[in-house]
Subunit: 301 residues, 2 copies
């Protein structure tokens, strides 16, 4: 795996909110630092799990700046910068670079559906030409069940060929293992990172580069165990146990709508019920759901 | 129909671009003024056909300001202000109001899919509370094939009940006539405006309030004929002929991807091929497509 430009366990960090709906910046940076301490190679803040597209441009810039001010190295931050409008994707990406943050996770423009590969290629090209910074490393973001915009294997190839030093990986959040294998086979050295925690172990065995997952908000240590020891046959039992623990958390997080549930579980882990809050259109768990979740959570290893 | 707060023929105006991809402001305002002259009661700028979500917040504000500066009355402008992030929807809506523009077309937050009616109700409530201006009149925007977010009949009812003076209508762009009839039956006085031109005549007969359509960029005069004379039995032949003309333009515009095709047709109408340009992820027609389109266009009445 050493040929991957980006490899590791990255957390799709959740974003806590104050009672008035604004980001709880102190709690957010505390959370990001804990994720690093627990074993994440980096924090992929401001993604789908982080409710980034529910925040304004100003809020997004502020959260990235706060993570840096809290002492997290720019090398360990991978913000989401892809929005619907190309000029704003350029602006957010340039902002990250201005702070020394060179790795970003980039959604395609996601308002229009059924757009062609030519259109998506043109969009990413326009963004990269607009940013025009050789330091930039982009992780494409394939999450068609949310964005509505699949990134096809041929499109990835066109982008890698046109921008070999910049388009370095993909977050595959469709959870389609065949798709991950197809991308690995087609583009050696290109980093495939899974969004679904249960696929970390099989993906690493198949030549993938790691993960950017939601469950890492809860069990980063186990994800790191899988990542560090996957190729050590003497550690198979330990690795399998870690993956099983991850899968248990993931299953519980799917009991209700995933993002509010992950947030509620972070609250249960840290003893801070403020984590339950979400920004509309997401809805926080009901008290009854939270109580049932707490019972399930108490039984996890 | 006199009980509708918003009624008429409104154009989902297209937005021309300069060669560098920036909005061609002069050509845009000229187009908006022509739409009014040709019979539109108002211009619903910055919607899906207008590629609004491909423009930055700054570009959106600038285009609305330019339309006003060009002399169009604020009463005749209905900008789209709904984006993925609630704070930015509030900001765009307040900006419109600050200019005296009180009617807006508002998408729900459209990044997350499969969100609940509770979540959408909370989102619209948070927006209206954030804007907090009694002058505001909102046309909800139901275009699930693009936004991915249907607005259900019960959700509309909850919003109308909670905000009776503000939530005054819906742009129904799914093209589902049964859905339009269900909304009319459920909420008398609530303005149902169709997005599909062929439905204007049947919708008006069924108690609808009018339309916000793409083909109005080309045949506003015919749409106005339908609107003005629908209830005059002596004019049935004239009205039917106008609707047939509209339908011919609509059919041709569906020969290729609709938005680039509508833009190209405006170019053919006005003799300005610059109208062909689109912003990624949309793709302009190829030269061959444009040539074939021009042949078809020349045969339209």
């Amino acid at each position: 795996m050493s040929n991957h430009k980006i490899t590791g366990v990255f957390s799709a960090a959740t974003t806590p909110l104050n009672a008035d709906g604004s980001p709880d910046v102190g709690l957010f940076t505390e959370h990001c630092k804990r994720l690093i301490e627990e074993g994440c190679h980096g924090v992929a803040l401001l993604g789908t799990t982080g409710e980034a597209n529910s925040f304004s441009m100003g809020e997004r810039r502020m959260l990235l700046e706060a993570a840096l001010k809290a002492g997290i190295s720019p090398d360990k931050l991978l913000p989401g910068t892809g929005v619907a409008a190309i000029p704003e994707t350029i602006e957010l990406t340039k902002h990250a670079l201005s702070l020394g943050v060179t790795k970003v996770v980039m959604l395609p423009p996601f308002y229009y559906k059924g757009v062609s590969d030519d259109g998506l290629f043109n969009a990413y090209s326009a963004i990269l030409e607009g940013v025009n910074d050789s330091r930039l490393q982009v992780i494409l973001y394939h999450i068609p069940q949310v964005s509505g915009i699949p990134l096809s294997v041929p499109l990835i190839g066109r982008l890698v060929e046109a921008f070999p030093d910049t388009i370095v990986g993909i977050k595959e959040s469709a959870g389609d293992f065949n798709n991950m294998q197809a991308i690995i086979a087609a583009y050696p050295g290109f980093s495939v990172l899974c969004g679904a925690d249960p696929l970390l172990l099989p993906l690493l065995k198949a030549g993938g580069a790691g993960c950017i997952t939601a469950t890492s908000n809860l069990v980063a240590d186990s994800l790191r165990t899988v990542y560090d020891h996957v190729h050590d046959e003497a550690q198979t039992a330990k690795v399998d146990a870690a993956q099983a623990r991850i899968n248990g958390y993931r299953t519980l997080s799917n009991s209700y709508v995933q993002i509010p549930t992950i947030k509620a579980m972070v609250g249960l882990k840290t003893g801070n019920a403020g984590w339950k809050r979400t920004r509309p259109p997401l809805v926080a768990l009901t008290d009854a759901e939270y109580a049932a979740l707490a019972e399930g959570y108490a039984q996890l290893p």
